[in-house]
């Protein structure tokens, strides 16, 4: 079968990832802000007997390699094999988008131009003459809409046609002064029969642009001796003409002039103002100098309120279901050990985690809305001044917010920060943003110790508190480990877009499904392990001695004795011994050994904290075996000050195993992991101790 490999290139936020999603059945991450895609992804599909491989690349404003994500695109385009470039542009802002297109046109690669967002262009009254645009530039042009799914097949046909064609004649025309120099250099190369994989005209352009790779190649060639003075002369001439000695600026101006010429010929816009001012009208409220931040805080507060209030309704059903299910299964298993494994181990462990699905879903919806409406960049704008005081970059906001969902994509998205120091600093702070997996722990404790009215506020306070501690940590790190100059903050603010319900639904569904899958596999396995460690070894002597006592006393005393037996058995189990061993470390924080064990288990995954507590208290519950609901058990077994200290540790200590691995990879070395470990452990311990003591004083 014929194969076509396509590199998808374009400026950020023009809908590249969305375009792939709509021509294949891929589900790449899409969001309405700059820097959603930070890593290349290959998507394969078949069309008209062709095997397409499309590589989704991070968006890049210009063909540069300053930030990691730009480098991914830059290096891919320069070093990898591919058949053609599919250059995606935003129909509603061609002038800016074509700047990159013009740059790509000097690469001597086959290019197809996909003008995306045609639905928005139509709505804004922008008409584009694709045919004429194609004639003027030599680029095959497809007008598409990834959202409305129009023009997609035509685009693919065009790609096949371009792939089959032997060569592409691109017409990129510069000012007279520049053209003159290009002609001179090209003529020189031609005269010396210089041949390379790219045309001599493009070599001339690249030499004038001072493109490093071209320089390096020609530098080793004998013709360089005569070429060099030619270039010096040309450079002088061009910079004189443009009144600038910055060649990048010169070329940007040249491209802009070319693009404006093209646009004047091919684009007809009627009263674009109406629709555009929509975004500005909303902005007038949302980024208002006085009300902007309070509005944002209100949204956050509302989200946590919803998380708790609405989330707790289906929670009761889920809780009920699992108790019923546990009893049902339990009664059908005759072997006591197996029954305990299934009911106390797996079902209560997994159940404790699944219980929080409603909360998680609401949180995910909130994040998806933030990402897809365009509000994300506004908040970055609002908070930049504030962040800056703590030595953070406004754009750090994006990875930090992503961190409220899950730390792993957050670590990845820190790549949008150009400066390595800013990026590292952000990486260290991301963990302070409580991820979705920690939400169950918070909901559990907030629900256990506070009335329903306050629980939502407590959640909000926990999240804000975590973020503030993170900011303070950033400040300290900035003053010590990451000293240095401030990085510029320049960020595009996208249009507000009504998020497609399907898109939100899909993102939330995928994430929720992943959470459920984790509960069914990883968490179930961890629960089994915890169950095993807390049930073995059996102590026949202890059981026997209690058994004889129980027989000799009345029914009432017997039940008390039975519970004491349970507790003692648990304490002499493997896990109990481990717990007792590490307990002294946590005594200053007011933790009993069960909490200490749950914390350690949380290093594997934060949900395991809840499932471990579920298993441990289901087994050794001295209150009442029939007592339903982990919340009640928690509130009866754990003193309030200890609970506060526990929450503080959960907020701060080391992210889960998977996140730690990604952190280490993104930070670029194992030593950073140890720094992170030291930082989070010390901060968590000290603050938890303070919190414990303070609460003891108050309560």
């Amino acid at each position: 079968m014929n194969k076509i490999k396509i590199a998808l290139v374009g400026q950020p936020n023009v809908g590249k990832s969305m375009l792939i999603n709509s021509i294949s059945n891929a589900h790449l991450h899409v969001g309405n802000f700059t820097g959603v895609t930070v890593e290349k992804t290959a998507v394969m599909f078949e069309f008209q007997g062709y095997k397409f491989t499309v590589i989704d690349l991070p968006g890049t404003y210009a063909f540069t390699d300053y930030s990691i994500e730009e480098r991914v695109t830059h290096d891919y385009l320069c070093n990898e094999e591919y058949d053609l470039i599919l250059n995606v542009v935003d129909a509603t802002n061609l002038e800016k988008n074509l700047q990159l297109t013009a740059e790509l046109m000097t690469m001597s690669k086959k290019i197809v131009l996909a003008i995306n967002m045609m639905d928005e262009a139509d709505a804004e009254g922008i008409a584009i003459d694709g045919q004429y645009l194609s004639e003027l530039t030599g680029l095959p042009v497809a007008k598409v809409s990834a959202v409305a799914r129009t023009g997609l097949e035509e685009m693919l046909y065009l790609a096949i046609k371009t792939h089959k064609a032997s060569q592409q004649e691109l017409k990129l025309i510069f000012s007279e002064a520049l053209e003159e120099e290009i002609t001179t250099i090209k003529a020189y190369l031609d005269r010396h029969k210089f041949k390379a994989s790219i045309s001599n005209r493009n070599i001339a352009i690249n030499l004038l642009q001072k493109e490093k790779k071209t320089y390096r190649t020609l530098h080793d060639n004998p013709i360089w001796i005569e070429l060099q003075p030619l270039l010096v002369e040309a450079d002088k001439h061009v910079s004189l003409h443009h009144n600038s000695d910055d060649i990048k600026e010169v070329f940007a101006e040249e491209y802009l002039a070319f693009n404006r010429g093209i646009i004047a010929e091919t684009v007809k816009a009627e009263n674009t103002e109406i629709k555009l001012s929509m975004t500005e009208k909303i902005d007038r409220i949302l980024i208002h100098p006085v009300f902007g931040i309070p509005i944002f805080l209100f949204f956050m507060w509302g989200l946590f309120q919803l998380t708790f209030e609405v989330g707790s309704i289906p929670m009761e059903w889920i809780d009920g279901f699992f108790s019923w299910f546990g009893e049902l299964i339990g009664s059908s298993i005759s072997n006591a050990d197996v029954r305990s494994l299934v009911v106390d181990g797996i079902i209560s462990g997994v159940g404790a985690v699944v219980l929080f699905i409603p909360n998680i879903v609401i949180l995910f919806i909130g994040i998806a809305l933030l990402e897809s409406t365009g509000y994300m960049s506004r908040v970055a704008f609002l908070l930049d001044g504030f962040f800056h005081k703590f030595g953070l970059h406004g754009q750090s906001f994006i990875p930090l917010v992503t961190g409220f969902g899950c730390s792993i994509p957050a670590y990845m998205s820190a790549r949008v920060l150009k400066n390595d120091r800013d990026r590292l600093l952000t990486l260290f702070i991301i963990g302070f943003m409580s991820c979705g997996a920690r939400l169950p722990v918070y909901v559990l404790f907030a629900g256990a110790f506070f009335s329903e009215h306050h629980a939502g506020n407590i959640l909000f306070a926990i999240y804000i508190g975590g973020a503030l501690i993170g900011l303070a940590a950033a400040k300290v790190l900035r003053m010590t480990a990451f000293k240095g100059l401030d990085e510029p903050f320049v960020m595009e603010m996208p249009k507000y877009r009504l998020p497609a319900l399907k898109l939100i639904w899909h993102t939330v569904k995928t994430k929720t499904w992943m959470y459920l899958k984790k509960a069914g596999t990883f968490i179930a396995a961890a629960s089994m392990l915890v169950w095993f460690l807390s049930n073995y070894p059996h102590n026949a002597a202890l059981e026997a001695s209690y058994a004889s006592q129980i027989e000799s006393v009345g029914e009432e005393k017997a039940s008390v004795l039975r519970n004491t037996l349970k507790v003692e058995l648990l304490e002499q189990s493997y896990l109990g011994r481990i717990g007792k061993f590490i307990e002294p470390v946590f005594t200053p924080l007011g933790f009993d050994w069960k909490m200490a064990v749950a914390l350690q288990a949380g290093l594997a995954a934060k949900e395991v904290v809840v499932s471990t507590l579920g298993v441990l208290y289901a087994l050794g519950d001295k209150v009442d075996a029939e007592n339903s609901g982990l919340m009640k058990v928690i509130s009866k077994n754990i003193p309030f000050p200890s609970a506060v200290a526990f929450i503080v540790v959960i907020m701060i200590y080391l992210p889960c195993l998977a996140a730690s691995v990604v952190f280490t990879k993104e930070a670029g070395g194992i030593k950073y992991f140890f720094y992170l470990f030291a930082l989070t452990t010390i901060v968590a311990y000290v603050l938890a101790f303070v919190a414990y003591r303070l609460t003891l004083l108050i309560v």
Binding site: Y61, P289, D384, V490
Partner: protein, 76 residues
């Protein structure tokens, strides 16, 4: 010499020269900010530490320090 930060909210100006260098200049250029281009000033943040401008059809947020590197002429 007038800086971009001297423009009032709601007013417009024309770029005379970019005093930035390196990656920042590259970024500004790729946003279409170069001499002769019209800029509209949309909003300042509360402490005036950040500013939102409009270049062509694009809205851009800049910090004061960066905006000061853009020399402009205020339009009538």
């Amino acid at each position: 010499m007038k800086k971009l930060t001297e423009c009032k909210k709601g007013s417009s100006c024309t770029v005379i020269k970019l005093h930035a260098s390196g990656p920042l200049k590259q970024r500004l250029l790729s946003f279409g900010m170069m001499k002769g281009v019209r800029i509209e000033l949309l909003e300042y943040s509360a402490t005036k530490s950040t500013v939102e401008i409009k270049v062509g059809k694009m809205r851009i947020a800049l910090r004061k320090e960066e905006a000061e590197l853009i020399e402009v002429e205020i339009n009538e």
